[in-house]
Amino acid sequence: MANITLRNLTKSYGPTEVLHHVEGTFHDGELIVVVGPSGCGKSTLLRMVAGLETVTSGEIAIDGKVINTREPAERDIAMVFQNYALYPHMSVRQNMAYGLKIRGLPKAEIARKVRDAAEILEIGDYLDRKPRQLSGGQRQRVAMGRAIVRDPQVFLFDEPLSNLDAKLRVQMRLEIRKLQRRLGVTSIYVTHDQVEAMTLGDRLMVLNAGHVEQFGTPIELYERPATAFVAGFIGSPAMNFIETEAADGKLRVGVASVSIESAHRGPATLGIRPEHLVAEDDGPFRVRVQMLEQLGANTLVHGVLDGTDAAFVASLPGVRAASEGDVIAFAPKPGALHLFDRASGKRIDGSLSRCDRAPAGD
C-alpha cells in the first residue's frame, strides 16, 4: 500500500527556483495526473519523486517514510519514460528481467513474472526481439512491462504517449487506465495534454510556472476552476474570458451587461465556456460572426464580442449556418458563469445566476 505525501516541496537550480512549495497527498491506488504547459515543472516534480533530481527543501514521503535521501533503486518505484528508454542491446525478455536479476530473484520466478506481465500487455510474441525491431506502440508496452514486472509501490509515467500518433495515443490511454485499475498501484502521470489528463486522472494537479494552481478531480477542475489559468487550461475549446468592471452589481459585457450578486467591485474577468452558451435573441453576449467550424456533432462559432475586439467562441449543437458579419446573441446556461479577480486570477465566488441584458446604450 502506498500513499505519497508531498510537503512544502521546493526545487531550485542555483538561484532560480522552479518549484514553489508544492503540497499534496496521493492516496493508495490513485492515478494522479500532473498537468501543465511546457516548462511548468511537472517533469521535475516527477523526477524528484523518482530520485533522479535532488530536493532543495521540503519532504517526499511514501507511506509516511521520508525518502528524500534515498537512491532511486531504494525507493521501490518504476518509471516509464517518454522515449521508452529500453536497453537497445537486450531482448524484450532481458529488458524486463533486468531489474529482477539485480534484486537476486531466482530464475524460475523471474521467468514467471516476465511471462505474466507479457500476457497482460499482450507482448508475449515479441519476447525475443530487440527494441529496434518493434514499433512505437510495442516499445511503449515493453516499457510498461518492465515497470509492472517489478511490482513496485509506485508507478511514474513521464509523458509516455507523446511520441505516438494521435490514434494510437487514444487507444493506449484507455489501456493504461485499465491496467492501472487492474493492478491498483499508486501512479503519478505527467502530461501536457489536458484531454489525456481529464480521461486518465482520478485527481489532477495543475502546475503553472512551478506553482500548484489546483488539485482536485477532473470535474471539480472543470466546474469550479480555482484560477483563471485552470479555467482556460481545462476544456476544449477554451473558456471565453471577458475583461470587465464590476459596479453596482452589474458587469459590462460588450454592449450589454450582466447582473451579479457579489460583493466584488472593480476589475474582474468573466468566464463562460463555449459549450455553456445557448442562442437566445436577448442574450447578453452579442457576437459578430467571423468564421464557423463545422464539426458535424456541433458547430463552433468564432467571432468578436460586439462593440469590442475581444475574441469569442460559442459551441452550438448540430449543424448551424451563419454568415460572416451576422450578429448572434447568446445567453449562458444557469450557473455557468465564472468570475475571476483580474489581478490574482483567483476565483471570486458569488451567485452569478441572474443575467439580464440591459438596454442598449446604457
Partner: protein, 283 residues
C-alpha cells in the same frame, strides 16, 4: 549523473586529475630538463622542479651548432623544414583531394569508378609498406633532399578524398540546380558554393593533416641525407645517439619541446575542429 553520492563526484575528479598527471608527467620532466644547465643534467638524481636556464637553453638550441660531437644543423633551420613540410602536406592533400572528390561526385565520365577504386586502394598502403620502391622512384626523379620529395609522396592518400566525398554527398541537389539556373558552370559552382560550404571541414582536416605532416618520421629519415634538410622530429634521433657519448639532455629535451610545441598548440587552440576532423576522417 544519477547518484547524488558526494563521494562519487569526488572520486571522479581525483581519478581525472590523476589521469592528467600521468599523461602530463613525461612533458613535465622534459620541461624541467629544458630549464637547467648541462652540468646539472648529469647529476643524479635529476631535478623534479624547473631551473632558471630556460632562455639560455632556448637560445643555444635554436641558434647554436647543435650538440657537440654532431653535425646537426641549427634547430631553427629544422623547425623551418618541418613547417614547410607540414604545410605542404596539409595544403597539398586538401587541394588535390577536394578537386578529386568534386570530380567523382559531380561528374559522370568514363572510368569514374576506376579512379575511385584506385584512390581507395591507397588507403591500404601506408608509406611503411612500400618504403624501398618508393625511395627508388623518388631518387630516380631526383627529388631526394628536397621539399618536394619530402611532401609529394605523402599527399595522395584517400582519407581526405573520402571525407570530402561524404560532405558533398550530403549537400542538397537543389544547390546545384539553382546554380545552373543562375548560369554557373562547374568551376564557378565549385568556388562560389561548394568551397564556402566546406569551410569547417577543410579547417578540421587541415588541423589533422598539419599534425600528420609535422610528425612524419620514416619518410624524411630516408630521403634526407643532407643535414640542412632534416626536420626537427628526426633530429631527435641523432641527438639521442649522441647522448650515448656526451649527454646534453638539456638541449635534447629543449629540442623535443620545440618539436612538439606547434602541433600541441594547434590541437589545443583548435580543439573543436581537431575533434571534428578526427571523428570524420576515421569512419
Amino acid at each position: 549523473m544519477v547518484e547524488n553520492r558526494r563521494y562519487l563526484d569526488l572520486a571522479t575528479h581525483i581519478v581525472l586529475l590523476l589521469g592528467i598527471a600521468i599523461v602530463a608527467l613525461p612533458i613535465w620532466i622534459t620541461f624541467v630538463a629544458a630549464t637547467h644547465d648541462a652540468v646539472r643534467m648529469t647529476q643524479v638524481p635529476l631535478p623534479l622542479l624547473p631551473g632558471s636556464h630556460f632562455l639560455d637553453n632556448l637560445k643555444e638550441t635554436l641558434f647554436g651548432s647543435g650538440l657537440s660531437g654532431t653535425e646537426t644543423a641549427p634547430v631553427w633551420r629544422m623547425l623551418l623544414n618541418s613547417l614547410v613540410m607540414a604545410l605542404s602536406i596539409a595544403i597539398g592533400k586538401i587541394a588535390i583531394s577536394i578537386i578529386s572528390a568534386f570530380a567523382i561526385v559531380y561528374f559522370r565520365f568514363p572510368f569514374r569508378m576506376g579512379f575511385f577504386w584506385m584512390i581507395f586502394i591507397t588507403l591500404m598502403l601506408p608509406v611503411e609498406v612500400r618504403i624501398v620502391p618508393t625511395f627508388e622512384v623518388v631518387s630516380q626523379l631526383g627529388l631526394l633532399n628536397s621539399y618536394a620529395g619530402l611532401s609529394i609522396p605523402l599527399i595522395a592518400s584517400a582519407t581526405a578524398t573520402f571525407m570530402f566525398r561524404q560532405v558533398f554527398l550530403t549537400i542538397p541537389d537543389e544547390m546545384l540546380e539553382s546554380a545552373r539556373v543562375d548560369g554557373a558552370g562547374p568551376m564557378r559552382f565549385f568556388f562560389d558554393i561548394l568551397l564556402p560550404l566546406s569551410r569547417t571541414n577543410i579547417a578540421a582536416l587541415f588541423v589533422i593533416l598539419f599534425i600528420y605532416g609535422w610528425n612524419q618520421y620514416l619518410w624524411p629519415l630516408l630521403i634526407t641525407t643532407d643535414n640542412s634538410m632534416t626536420t626537427i622530429v628526426i633530429s631527435i634521433k641523432q641527438m639521442l645517439e649522441a647522448a650515448e657519448q656526451s649527454p646534453q639532455w638539456n638541449v635534447i629535451m629543449m629540442t623535443a619541446l620545440l618539436g612538439m610545441l606547434p602541433p600541441v598548440v594547434v590541437v589545443v587552440t583548435m580543439q573543436k575542429l581537431f575533434v571534428k576532423g578526427l571523428t570524420e576522417t576515421d569512419k
